[in-house]
């Protein structure tokens, strides 16, 4: 059966805080609560990477969070989309060039939608999620890798090995 049609009707989100100030996190929470209510798009917040389709990332990615972020990304099944919420997730924001941050989510994993604002408004977050749904519909089952990773994906895909390879390169950088 063609699941593609239904996929966008009930996406589940996973939210990870990689060193944000909580400002954007509470706005994401506000989105889930009555006034903005993203549940009308069938969206549920489940803290489980294996069941999620959309990864909402806030924060500029601290040095310690980057490995977790990569692991979470690999645990999510394809197709998946990544939404960077807030100025500091997009580019580092005020935290840009501080000694412990990576200047944005796209330095670690591929990002599909950027939501600007400090803090990002709930309306903007909803808009970002709706855009993400369109992208989700188009995406296929191929495994996605971060742009800096040189590993080749060829079937049969061994995710554990891929993750190891990526982690090695991640730590090897600089």
């Amino acid at each position: 059966m063609d699941f593609k049609k239904f996929r966008k009707r009930s996406p589940w989100i996973l939210h990870y805080n990689t060193g944000s100030c909580n400002g954007c996190d509470i706005e994401i929470l506000a989105c889930l609560a009555p006034k903005y209510d993203v549940e009308r798009f069938g969206i549920l917040n489940r803290g489980n990477p294996k069941q999620s389709d959309i990864l909402l990332v806030t924060g500029p990615v601290t040095k310690r969070a980057k490995e977790r972020l990569l692991r979470l990304y690999f645990e999510m099944p394809e197709p998946k989309v990544v939404v960077a919420v807030g100025a500091c997730a997009c580019s580092g924001g005020v935290f840009r060039h501080m000694y412990n941050v990576e200047n944005g989510v796209d330095k670690v994993i591929p990002v599909d939608v950027y939501v600007p604002g400090c803090a990002a408004r709930p309306e903007a977050i909803i808009d970002g999620i709706v855009r993400a749904l369109e992208i989700l519909k188009e995406k296929g089952k191929e495994v996605e890798l971060p742009h800096w990773c040189s590993a080749q994906v060829k079937p049969p895909v061994n995710r554990v090995k891929l993750l190891d390879r990526c982690l090695e390169e991640l730590h090897g950088r600089r």
């Binding site: 805080n17 100030c21 909580n22 400002g23 803290g47 500029p60 005020v94 501080m98």
Partner: protein, 361 residues
């Protein structure tokens, strides 16, 4: 005797909005040992404040330490700076700061209460609490121009004045909010199943609170009379009807009740501020360069916040030191967990309302 089992809790967890990591050693259901790791979100803000940003900008940077109590951090910094440089802040600005800081406290407390309800499995109440919290967010947006990071206070005063139109809307909303807050207090106080779940769970006794230096609502719920608003004179709290809320008991139930009662007190203060807002300027220019050192204490929604700054006649400060409330509350959490059932852990953690982005900075 069962074998020891290691249960990691965090850094990414369903019940946890923040990246903190606990590693529990459990024997059957009982916890025998616990390790806490709070460093996941360390960004290096203190260092950047002392190397990268000019002293007039630092207020906006430290606001990004924490989005929930953004005004407290800015307030801590600007108060320290003003005292260091001998700036006389206009009365109207002080009152406006007070208004925003109380509104901020209301929204932060409602968030914490809602979360505890959610972790107890009471999703409906969580949603209700969050619905009423939106009222506060709307008020803050009207008043300051942004929902979360207001950047309202600045060295020398505040950035935005309260216009009569906004004041009218604020009064209407505050009235609705007061009704809702009374209703919420009623639910958190009298709901039978919530009381059954929370009373007597995670008890912090008064001695424990004193010994381990607990701050904020958890301390006041344990019967310890500590509140920086009464102890350190940084805003005119006494003039607007501040009362300290102290309860006996110290379990999750009392912690939430303290928050609910403080919300009511804050609303009362907001009324008084709106009624007695003095006329005058909202900002005075700040000139010169900071020299010397200064500390202030601020009551953030979660407890005592400490700021220390040192400057030596340069545009960039020598040192900015921040000590946050959650950091003071972590030792007692650790102590509580030992001997507790694993099932009570999420509720206890959330009831302390930990703010990890504050703690790690």
């Amino acid at each position: 005797m069962g074998k020891r089992i290691t249960v990691p809790f965090g850094s990414q967890h369903v019940a946890l909005p923040e990246p903190v990591r606990f590693v529990f050693q459990t024997e059957n259901e009982k916890i025998v040992d616990v390790e806490v790791d709070v460093g996941y979100v360390h960004r290096g803000i203190e260092k950047a404040c002392a190397t990268k940003f000019k002293y007039m900008q630092v207020g906006y940077v430290v606001a990004r330490v924490c989005g929930l109590c953004a005004i407290s951090h800015t307030l801590g910094y600007v108060t320290a700076l003003e005292r260091l440089m001998g700036v006389e802040v206009p009365k109207r600005a002080l009152y406006l700061r007070l208004l925003v800081s109380e509104l901020d406290r209301i929204h932060s407390h409602l968030l914490a209460m809602g979360h505890t309800a959610e972790v107890a499995g009471y999703e409906n109440l969580f949603m209700q609490t969050f619905r009423h919290r939106e009222l506060v967010m709307e008020m803050l947006e009207l008043l300051t121009g942004n929902r979360v990071q207001f950047d309202f206070a600045c060295p020398g005063g505040v950035n935005r004045d309260l216009t009569p139109e906004v004041e009218k809307v604020l009064r209407e909303k505050l009235k609705v909010l007061e009704e809702k807050a009374l209703w919420l207090r009623d639910v958190y106080e009298n709901d039978f199943s919530l009381a059954l779940r929370w009373k007597g769970t995670g008890v912090v006794t008064e001695e424990m609170a004193k010994e381990m230096n607990v701050v904020g609502p958890p301390a006041r719920a344990a019967g310890l009379k500590t509140d920086v608003r009464a102890e350190f004179d940084y805003l005119p709290f006494k003039e607007v009807g501040y009362r300290m809320v102290v309860l006996k008991g110290g379990s999750i139930y009392e912690r939430n009740l303290v928050r609910a009662l403080e919300v009511l007190n804050s609303i009362e203060m907001c009324w008084n501020i709106l009624d007695g807002l003095p006329e005058g300027d909202i900002k005075v220019p700040v000139k010169g360069l900071p020299e010397g050192e200064m500390f202030v204490r601020i009551e953030a929604p979660r407890g005592e916040l400490f700021y220390y700054i040192r400057g030596s006649k340069k545009l960039i400060l020598d040192r900015v030191r921040i000590r946050v409330p959650t950091f003071a509350n972590i030792p007692v959490m650790k102590e509580l967990f030992v001997g507790m059932d694993y099932a009570d852990v999420p509720a206890t953690v959330i009831s302390f309302d930990p703010c990890l982005s504050c703690t790690a900075r």
